[in-house]
Chain length 234, copies 2
Amino acid sequence: MESLKETGARHAGSHGRWYQDACGTAFAMELLGERWSMLVVRELLLGPRRFSDLRAALPGISAKVLTERLAGLETAGVLLRRRLPPPAASQVYELRAWGHAAEAPILALARWAAMSRGHNPQLPLSPVAFMLSLRAMLAPGPVSGAPLRVGFTVAGESFLAEFAGNALAVRRATAEELAGADASFTAEAPLPLLRVFYGHQPLDQAEQGGVRVAGDRAAAERFASMFALPEKLA
Amino acid sequence: MESLKETGARHAGSHGRWYQDACGTAFAMELLGERWSMLVVRELLLGPRRFSDLRAALPGISAKVLTERLAGLETAGVLLRRRLPPPAASQVYELRAWGHAAEAPILALARWAAMSRGHNPQLPLSPVAFMLSLRAMLAPGPVSGAPLRVGFTVAGESFLAEFAGNALAVRRATAEELAGADASFTAEAPLPLLRVFYGHQPLDQAEQGGVRVAGDRAAAERFASMFALPEKLA
DNA sequence: CAGAATCCCATTCGATACTG
DNA sequence: CAGTATCGAATGGGATTCTG
C-alpha cells in the first residue's frame, strides 16, 4: 500500500467540499463533477484548444466559469496551459496523459446516457463531441474487415477516423490528410451526420440534407454501417 | 422540491440548469453530476438499500440532500422506491435496469481516479465500495484458471465474489452461501483488506492486522493476487 | 426510523462591463 | 482574443424541527 501522507490535506483541485471517501468514483467526481468540467475535458480529447474554441464548443458557459474550471483542472493535474511559439502569441489548453485517460469513463458515460429514453439527440453538438461519439458507439464484436480511413469536415473542423483491427482512432487532420482517405463526409453541422450514423439514413438521402460524401462510396457505406446506438433500457 | 413547471420538456431529473448539448456525456452529467448522486447509485449497485443504509454508507450526506437526490434519481428513471411486504414496513431504493447499467461508467471513473497520484486510499470506504473496487481492479488479461468462490464479511455485511471465465461477479450473500465458498475474508473495516488486495500484503501479515482468512488458504492467495491498482499516469 | 418542512448562510452562477 | 472584476440572484446544503 502506498504511503499517501498528508493528514487531513485536501485533494488538489478539490472545490472546497469533498467526500470523505476512498472510492475512486468519489475522487473522480471531486475532480470532474463540477458543472462543465467533464465537458471541458471532452472538448480537449482530440487535441489542444484555445479559450475561445472552448467557449464556442460549449454554448452556455460563461467566461468566468470557463476560467475557473480551467484553473481547477490545471491544479488537479488534468490539463496544462501552454503558450504557443511566437508566431501565434496565443495560449492553448492541453490534456496531460492522465487527463487524456479520462476518455474511457467519458465514453462509458455517453454509452450509458444513450441507453436512456429521454436522451435528446436533437440538441446542438460540437464537432468534437460528434467525432467522439463514433468511438463510443462503434458496434462491438467481429465487425472487422479491411482497414478504412474516413475523413470528416464538420462545421469547418477536419478529422480523420482510422479503423483497423476492430478499433477506431480519431484525430484532427489537415486537408491533405483528408485527400488520402478512402472516403470523406462533409457537413455544416453534426446533426445531419447523426442521421447517417445512428439513424440509418441512406447516403443519397443524406446528400439531400446537407451531407457531402466524397471518395469511395462503398467504403463510406460500410463505415457508416459500423455504428449503432445501444438499445434502450428500462 | 422541484415543481417541474415549464413547458420546455426538460430532462427528467434535471436540476434546473442544463447543458444544451446532445452529447451523451452531457446528459449523463445532468443525471448523475449533482453532488452525491453518483455515490448513491454506487451504493445501490449491489442491491436495494434503505434510507438509513445509504446515510450510513455516505458519511457527510444530510437527510435533506439524500431525500432530494433519491427523488431526482427516481424522476430520472434511474431507481425506484419499493415498499417491502408487511412484516417489514420499511422502504427500499432499488436501481432499475438502466440505473444498474451505470456500473460500467462508475467503475471506469474509479479506474481513472486510481491512476492519479493524489488519490488517497486511506479515507473511509463503504463495504459496497470495497466490493465494487474488486470488479474495477480485476487485473485484465489471461489470469484465468479454475473458478473460485470467495466470501467476504466486511463491517458485518456479507458478499460472495465468484470468479469464472475471466470475469468476476459480486453479490450480497447469506452466511450459508459463504460457508460454501472456497475461502472467506472477514474484517471489521475495508482498510485492512485494501492492504491485502492492492498493497501486496502477505496473508499472514494481514491476519495480524485484523483480517481473518478461512477456508482454502491457497485459494485465498490466488484470489488476492488477481487484483492490482492501475499504474499512475502523469 | 423515514422523511418533509423551515430556516439561513455560504457558495456559485451568469450577465455585464472592463482591460492588456 | 483572453481573460478579470464586480454584482445581484439563484441555489446548495447543513442544522433543526416536526410527523407518522
